[in-house]
């Protein structure tokens, strides 16, 4: 069973933006603080509702975890990653603007992953939606 992204009312603006190739995060209209997309209330001044704002899509790597392909067993795979034939590199990335995202590295060899690796958002289709993944930036040393 491959799990597909499905929007709900609170995430609709996020997926709308993703469909345009744009990454958005929450922003507080009173204090300008940016926060992860699922944030509901400003963590500085408690104001809600929060607005949305586009970010650059540039990020650095905070941490990563590798889901290795698992030899098939009698047990039905329960996650998309357990069906994968290549390692899936899950990650926490820090957006240039500060918020962290739980995401996946795309086209990054886990052996070359390191804290501070410079990344750029890309979008991949998942069902009817687009979801953000991050890939290395050619020419950027990272560090």
């Amino acid at each position: 069973m491959v799990i597909e992204a499905i929007r709900d009312p609170s995430s609709a603006p996020f997926f709308e933006a993703a469909a345009r190739g744009e990454l958005v995060v929450r922003i507080c209209p009173t204090c300008d603080r940016r926060a992860r997309p699922e944030t509901v209330c400003c963590l500085e001044c408690a104001y809600e509702p929060l607005g949305w704002t586009a970010v650059s899509g540039r990020a650095t790597l905070v941490s990563w975890a590798v889901v290795h392909p698992r030899p098939s067993t009698a047990v039905a795979p329960s996650t998309p990653s357990s069906e994968a034939t290549v390692p899936v590199v899950l990650a926490i990335v820090e957006l240039e603007e500060g918020p962290w995202l739980h995401t996946r590295l795309f086209d990054v060899d886990p052996a070359s992953a390191h804290v501070g690796l410079v990344l750029q958002v890309a979008f991949v289709a998942s069902g009817a939606e687009q979801v953000p993944v991050f890939q290395g930036v050619t020419g950027a040393g990272g560090g």
Partner: protein, 404 residues
């Protein structure tokens, strides 16, 4: 108090009240791959076993605090199902892996204040549905990952707790040099303890090489870095220190307790993976108990993963930040080591019933009933619980001696 090196407990002017409660009953059902019984069946059994262990009758119980794992199916109705009447305290408590600590803390406060006199705390779970079912599938992620923001994570391959803790562990490894051998040392040491625990699901000794050869679950975690999945239940009975002296079992006194909920804001500067709620929870509990880490004889630390033990040891102050890995690799935690830790095998090797795994072994050690794995010096036993992705922490300081 006898036998403890700690000068603190007697003379400290800190905290009063925690020492007025004691754990007097422990009930552990059959645990592990036990099929054909529901979570509620296990819960009732554990309560009956704990009350009988204390030398009490169900009619003596006037408080019940219920906890249930992800299998669900147990709630407030447990009281009437057991025929408990005229209770003075009844709640379902949830702080994930910190629940057992939170239950016992509430129970201690209830008996210390006179709100209730005999409070049973129970945790039950039965995630393994049938023989052969995937253990991992039992915890592969809930409704939160099916729609909305969570579904974007799930579409990228996130499922359950394993990747979240793997990300935290990797961060610790990158920041402090914690490595595969350090993680292995935790698993190997605990298996050595488990070999002496008849209740443990996994009792065959393992080597560092076998740890390294076990399959990846989510790198940096291999199979032998991850806790078991178990069916079963554990309950404890909490009453006043005064009354505990007249019951069937040697009392286990509560010297101190605390909680810590860091409220990580996931953004630049976040300490996820590096420091946990154990920092404040441990400080609160040890201050209340009038001890320092140096006074602790035995540790029972929540070990959902090998890494969790390492970061918790650091946060409690048993070693410097970043030194948890080398500390484990020195053999300190294993049989014969300077800080016997997870002496029943922990969640990695004995059974996984949230915070009741470390609590149950702490009670057994504090009573001096651990058989061949009994630690001679067990005057101060430290217990941790940890829930969410290091989001929630609870600490208990236990002792066979009443705080004077």
């Amino acid at each position: 108090m006898t036998g403890s090196s700690g000068a603190g407990p007697v003379t400290s002017g800190a905290g009063a009240g925690a020492g007025e409660a004691a754990i007097v009953g422990l009930g552990i059902t059959e645990v592990g791959k036990v099929y054909g019984r529901t979570t509620a069946d296990f819960a009732r059994d554990a309560v009956r076993l704990a009350v009988a262990d204390a030398g009490l009758a169900l009619a003596d119980v006037d408080g019940l605090l219920v906890s249930v794992g992800l299998s669900g199916g147990v709630g407030m109705e447990l009281a009437v199902r057991l025929g408990l009447r005229d209770l003075r305290m009844l709640s379902v408590i949830n702080a994930w892996g910190a629940t057992a600590g939170a239950q016992i803390q509430l129970a201690a406060m209830a008996v210390s204040t006179g709100m209730a006199e005999t409070v049973v705390c129970v945790h039950a779970d039965a995630p393994l549905a049938e023989p052969g079912a995937s253990a991992g599938a039992a915890y592969s992620g809930g409704a939160a990952l099916r729609t909305g923001f969570g579904s974007a994570m799930a579409a990228n391959g996130f499922a359950g707790a394993n990747p979240m803790y793997a990300l935290a562990a990797r961060r610790h490894m990158e920041a402090y040099g914690t490595n595969d051998d350090h993680l292995a040392a935790v698993a190997v040491g605990q298996r050595e303890w488990a070999a002496m625990n008849p209740l443990a699901q996994m009792r065959t000794p393992i080597t560092v090489a076998e740890h390294h050869a076990s399959r990846w679950v989510v790198e940096p975690f291999r199979l032998l870095d991850c806790c078991l999945v178990s069916n079963g239940a554990v309950a404890v009975v909490v009453t006043t220190a005064e009354r505990s002296a007249h019951l069937r079992q040697p009392p286990v006194h509560l010297w101190g307790f605390g909680q810590g909920h860091p409220g990580y804001v996931l953004e630049r500067g976040c300490e996820l993976g590096l420091h946990t709620g154990a920092v404040s929870s441990g400080a609160t509990a040890m201050r209340m108990a009038g001890i320092t880490a140096a006074d602790v004889d035995v540790c029972q630390l929540y070990d959902c993963y090998t890494y969790t033990v390492i970061v918790t040891l650091e946060d409690y102050g048993f070693c410097a930040k970043g030194e948890g890995g080398p500390f484990a690799a020195s053999g300190a935690l294993a049989p014969g080591g300077s800080l016997p830790t997870n002496t029943g095998g922990g969640q990695l090797s004995s059974f996984y019933l949230w915070g009741m795994t470390p609590v149950s072994e702490a009670v057994i050690q504090a009573r001096g009933q651990a058989g061949e794995r009994q630690i001679d010096r067990h005057d101060v036993v430290l217990v941790s619980g940890n829930g969410g992705t290091l989001d929630h922490h609870a600490t208990l300081v236990l002792s066979p001696h009443r705080r004077s």
